[in-house]
């Protein structure tokens, strides 16, 4: 399976990739994009099996990316890994078609618990 990690921070992209390995998902290929606009192009060109996306990014933010994908009928599995963990943000994410929202800071256990059912389905 292919997982696309979208975050404007190179450090956080590394951390998410490392946490995926620590959580037992080392068999999946990880690709990266540094904002929503680049991620949109990457998803259009070759849809991944899962998108792990930050919320606050320049160019196109995470929720704009998700809404644009869904408005074009793209049904790729999509979840947020973000500092935005308020109930309002979670509701907006789910209403827009996200499967989950993992709030930073996170642990490998959180990844395992949240992603296992998503990647298994």
């Amino acid at each position: 399976m292919k997982i696309l990690v979208v975050d404007d921070s190179k450090a956080m992209r590394k951390i998410v990739a490392r946490t995926l390995k620590q959580a037992g998902f080392e068999q999946h290929a990880v690709e990266e994009a540094e904002n929503g606009a680049l991620a949109f192009d990457a998803i259009k060109a070759s849809p991944p099996d899962l998108v792990l996306c930050d919320w606050n990014m320049p160019e196109m933010n995470g929720i704009e990316l998700l809404q644009k994908l869904r408005s074009e009928g793209q049904t790729v599995k999509f979840g947020f890994v973000t500092t935005e963990g308020t109930p309002e943000m979670r509701k907006l994410a789910m209403d827009s078609g996200a499967l989950f929202l993992i709030a930073k800071p996170f642990t490998p256990e959180t990844f395992q618990q949240v992603l296992q059912p998503v990647l298994a389905s």
């Binding site: 921070s9 450090a11 956080m12 951390i15 606050n56 963990g85 309002e88 930073k104 800071p105 642990t107």
Partner: protein
Amino acid sequence: MTVTQEFTLQDWLQITVQACEELATGQLGCQTFTVGPSATEAPVTDVGSYVALVGDETSAQIGVVASIDGCRALARKMLCMEPSEEISDADMCDAVGEIANILGGSVKRLISERVPGFKLGLPLFMQGRLLASDRQEVGTVAVKMGEIEAHLLVVRFKAS
């Protein structure tokens, strides 16, 4: 009484320390987290990263600052690097910026239980002493994340 008046600088600092402890002992893997003295001025020589939390009635900047070596150590912790590994300035800025970003997000989540509607900005790494205007008040708390000494800093915009 308005929300702004109810939400004091001490409230901001207390929540920021709580968020930092969660980050330090979780994501950064520090075995210990200790809180030192607080002050009302920014440290003179420190560098670090700031992120804005903007609300309808009040706003603040949340910062994490340390010596340049302290920032490098924090960045290495964030990236799970060995203490002796070289780290570029760009990677240090990015990693410490992400620490400020996570702190800001956690503070926003904790604050939203009392005051919803804050917007979180993007982190900015800076070197130099922060000076406050008459409309701002500054609070800092010394913290130690493992062996790394740092200051948490809140710049709160006073109620008009």
